[in-house]
Amino acid sequence: MTGNFKPTELMVIRCAQEIIDGEVVFAGVGLPLLVIGFAMATHAKNIILFTEGGSIRATPPPGLAITVDDPALFCKGDGTFGMLATMAALQRGEVDVAFIGGAQIDKYGNINSTGVGNWNKPETFTYFAGSGGASDMAACGKRILAIIPQDPKRFVERVDYLSAPGFLDGPGARERLDMQGNGPSVVVSTMGVYKFDSHTKEMYLSEYFPGQSVEKIRANCSFDLDVAHDVKETEEPSEDELTILRDLDPTSFYLS
């Protein structure tokens, strides 16, 4: 153990551990694509990768995919089906893990990838790219896995714009809207790992990364964070894991 790794690297490696070999994983743009690459290179060689661009593949892409419609994703892929096909599979309930990133998350796992500020007052609203497929994935994936860098502006009481549904305002809300998926299951940040209480549907801290502490994480979270009574420190990544990860992103497109 060296401790010689970036928080982003541990975030990716820890996130990959949430994926079970053999699952159908729908990955959004950004870090999720790197996580899938890492999972496929390590413990989860039999996962089936879906992207918004319509790639369906059982083998790792030959190179790092920068986007969800990246030519690498279609090279020796199992199909170049298009967005309609992968989104339709989501709606049919065939996706085990919907894996998304975002800019903000609240205690019910609602995610904002649209922008920050007050949308009704455009002069205050800073647009990001938009929701993309996050809302479709969050509504229909059997479980939602989210990856979000942590600071107080990102872990907020209430997201500025709800682009992808978590548990909305609490228990029963997803059911009332007839959503197919079971909602958020795990959130991995640059500081720790979160899960959701099965009754209250609120997020709680389950692990903190080496070098972090519950106090530090509380200070980087804008809502009153619940902490598991058996909260533990996340295991450091091994040298092998770091080598595999860095080989996947040699120019640090994602890891910088």
């Binding site: 918004e52 986007t67 969800v68 030519p71 205050t124 938009g130 993309g132 549904p165």
Partner: protein
């Protein structure tokens, strides 16, 4: 049908794109119709309304920066290499741009409805989000008439004209594409009211297209104009021809970041070059031939299955007596 629809970029844009038009903007993160984007800016078209699912490489950001777009209906617009759509952010804040947000599958469904010729289409996404709150123009929730459960419906999107980049086309307007089926080019194009403008890397003989019709994305009768246009998606990628130009997208993104230097990019790279060929020549002059060479893809990924479209000739039944047996004869 033997109309030759080939024309220059300049002719296609001036003839078929009118002020105030609603355009389907093709591509996703690759095959983005960038040469068409530059020409629309060059011709200073105004008050355009964009329909798209998601797009990258900064094309829409440039159109907004140049003041061509009033409204956009889409799920995602970005210059991913620059990590933000800077001009879009500013234009929204300044009240110069209306955004109508929708999810990716919401947009795909809206284009599907346009393709099918039905008024709306049900999708499962968008429900429970602020999209429903802020974009009732495109998204509503209704009760499923069969089960009574809530379901999102999206309005059919039908553009006036669709803008597409493809690997190949013939002079009649048959469009051939492969390698990714992206998100909405076929539906956006087929659902368009007036038709499609396509830029293509290569122009081929119609007999070539007809020898492999599975690869035809858009049939000739929907096509308004065919523009022979190598590097027509640059800096986005074109499968089998070139990859995403990360460095140029970042370079363009740096200009977009600061409002005061945006005009320098527009003047130098768009207004200041007469056509797409001149743009590519300028790129080579500025960054060197090796910059262009770097974008060439690793090749050799050809299909290993030979396909035969052989058909069965019904004339073989001539003289063959009907099959029968004792039950039929009864």
């Amino acid at each position: 049908m033997s109309v030759d629809k080939r024309m220059t970029l300049k002719e296609a844009v001036s003839k078929f794109i009118l002020e105030g038009d609603t355009l389907y903007y093709g591509g996703f993160q690759i095959m983005v119709p960038m040469a068409l984007t530059y020409e629309i800016i060059r011709q200073r078209k105004k008050h355009l309304n964009i329909l798209s699912t998601s797009t990258d490489a900064g094309g829409l950001d440039l159109l907004v920066a140049a003041g061509c777009i009033d409204e956009m209906h889409l799920a995602w617009a970005m210059n991913w290499c620059a990590r933000a759509p800077h001009a879009i952010q500013r234009a929204f804040q300044d009240g110069e741009l209306k955004r109508h947000d929708i999810s990716n599958f919401g947009a795909t469904g809206a284009l599907m409805a346009g393709y099918l010729g039905v008024p709306f289409f049900p999708v499962r996404g968008n429900i429970g989000t602020d999209v429903v709150k802020y974009n009732s123009a495109d998204v509503r929730i209704i009760d499923d008439p069969f089960t009574g459960k809530p379901i999102t419906v999206v309005r059919a999107w039908r553009a006036d004209v669709a803008l597409i980049h493809a690997q190949r086309a013939d002079h009649l307007g048959n469009v051939v594409a492969w390698g990714t089926h992206g998100n909405g080019d076929q539906h956006g194009a087929m659902g368009s009211k007036r038709g499609v403008i396509v830029t293509a890397e290569e122009i081929v003989d119609p007999e070539m297209v007809r020898s492999d019709p599975d690869r035809t994305l858009i049939p000739y009768y929907k096509t308004l104009a065919v523009v022979p246009c190598p590097w027509g998606a640059h800096p986005s990628a074109c499968r089998g021809f070139y990859g995403l130009d990360v460095r140029f997208a970042q370079y363009q993104g740096k200009y977009m970041k600061k409002k005061e230097i945006v005009p320098h990019f527009l003047n130098e790279w768009i207004y200041g070059v007469k056509d797409h060929k001149a743009y590519i020549q300028k790129y080579v002059n500025t960054f060197g031939q090796e910059a262009l060479e770097r974008l060439k893809p690793i090749l050799g990924f050809k299909p290993q299955m030979e396909v035969d479209y052989g058909y069965h000739d019904p004339n073989i039944w001539e003289g063959v007596p009907p099959y029968t047996d004792m039950h039929i004869r009864g």
